[in-house]
Symmetry: C2
Subunit: 312 residues, 2 copies
């Protein structure tokens, strides 16, 4: 028995950075189904889109632990505008990760219990509408790529511009889906009590019951491993009981405000392309030697959304 293997999962691989190889077989021309690795290697520049620095957050815990979040103004325009304002005002600099609840979320913001003791929001708004669900638009309809598989949480599930999403055609609405790495705006009991100053990321089994109940603002596209391994809090809801257990945030900046030499330049695989459809199919039925019984199915939150350093 050699090195006992379990199949490679998507997130690590997708972030590994795979060179495009223009000489390889184009999508659709392959005689036998290609694996995810082969699909990534065969991708062309048009299969990727560069993340916009003005639509991306760089969160730094320290020199080593840098986290990149793509914002989703398609779904939460007012929250995303507020988050941009907060980042530009240095709101999170010196604040902390205050909650780490196993199998659920990691959350950061101002740890002060009392509102009066909290850092002011500066130029950002203190009151926003709930944006847990949005009305369909031609732009959303065009970006929408439906997953062929059934889902018990929503009439349809799929992808919008690289985000996990769901759709109700009867009500003509769309909403982001709470999959691993998705970032939302913490709130109180009232659905319109979030400002974007308090953010959480999904680290556990997709809590899709939060869909349509809470405003989702983006997705972690690099550095999830620094958030998913934060030691768990032992207080109620996974909050840290002692201030010294909190993880200090050095800074959160818009990538466009980061000096060019320090930026992380990433590109995401387009989710409205034939290549992405081929990738989904490759994950619905795994063809590598490890798998003996292909599933013939995939859940939304199991679909990889590859992101890599920009290839020049």
């Amino acid at each position: 028995m050699s090195r006992r293997a379990l199949p490679l999962f998507v997130f690590a691989l997708a972030l590994g950075g795979c060179a495009t190889s223009p000489a390889s077989t184009p999508a659709g021309a392959a005689a036998t189904p290609r694996t995810m690795q082969q699909i990534l290697e065969a991708s062309r520049p048009a299969d990727w889109r560069a993340l916009e620095p003005g639509n991306t957050l760089l969160m730094e815990l320290d020199d080593r632990r840098r986290i990149v979040i793509e914002l989703a103004p398609q779904f939460a325009p007012e929250h995303v505008a507020n988050i941009r304002t907060l980042a530009q005002g240095g709101f999170w600099n010196g604040l902390s990760i205050n909650r780490s609840q196993d199998g659920f979320v990691v959350q950061w913001g101002d740890p002060a219990e009392e509102e009066a003791a909290r850092r002011p929001l500066g130029a950002a708004k203190a009151k926003l509408p709930a944006e847990a669900e949005v009305r369909g638009t031609p732009a959303l309809d065009t970006a929408w790529t439906r997953l062929p598989d059934p889902d018990g949480w929503a009439p349809q599930v799929g992808f919008v511009d690289g985000f996990y999403a769901a759709r109700d055609p009867a009500r003509n609405t769309y909403w982001p889906a709470h999959c691993y790495g998705m970032v939302g705006a913490g709130r109180d009991i009232a659905i319109d009590s979030s400002t974007g100053a308090e953010l959480y990321v999904v680290i556990g089994q997709s809590p899709r019951q939060l869909d349509r109940n809470i405003t989702t603002v983006g997705r972690v596209v690099q550095g999830m491993e620094w958030l998913s391994t934060v030691p768990r809090g032992t207080g109620p809801l996974g909050f840290f009981e002692k201030p010294e257990q909190r993880v200090t945030i050095r800074s959160v900046r818009l990538m466009s405000d980061v000096p060019r030499a320090e930026r992380i330049a990433l590109e995401a695989m387009r989710t409205d392309s034939p290549l992405f459809a081929e990738l989904v199919e490759a994950r619905r039925n795994r063809r590598d030697d490890f798998y003996k019984v292909p599933a013939g199915h995939i859940d939304l939150c199991n679909v990889p959304l590859p992101v890599r350093p920009i290839q020049r």
Copy 2:
């Protein structure tokens, strides 16, 4: 805005230990649906089953980090017998966690690359049949509790004796489902290449594509937070690149071999009771004030399986 809340997730709560309160309303008699917390508080001794010390592993990383695994002989009798033999022979003592792949699994065993360099299995068998799926029996049919919700991975999903499971009535087979905390036997390419000496636990979004492809041997019922936060490995498949990055395992023992004073005595909620059915329904439609849109659905791997210290 007071303490910004996100709803309490199940695992932390379930392990918190809730006193039974015999005076509370019995299941079914409630006028309005009860929350999970109320259901736990109203539970009676008959709603719980004590874990059998001879069917439970205690894995110790150090004094503080103790992990309890319930074994599943219903699904993998030969693997579980081998694991008992390995534990009694001290096989894992001094070995290590060698792999931590974000969003997927954490894996432990002998880190040696070459088979010749590995620790001998002692009295355990070097060759076992694959036990990724088992034939239905009257015992399994009796234990089976079906989840009412659709699932794209299997004809039916539900629970057997406190384990996430799936069923194909047409083929009269059952198999464990790869949900958070489920423990499986690492293998090579051949489906019958596992011995139980190499084990992994699911730490990410349920990789149900592994169902029926790999033998599952149990579930972590306490201490998941020590496994889910192991720093991620940077080598292929999340293996650690340097020996010093591995996490040393002090010991893995059968709980029945642990001196009585050091044992962890746990009980699990029965999954074949009316109270458990009520709990599932409480999670399908969340009634607490935080939720504005009850989902009317739950995925198998989102259902909590409460475990707590034995109440005396």
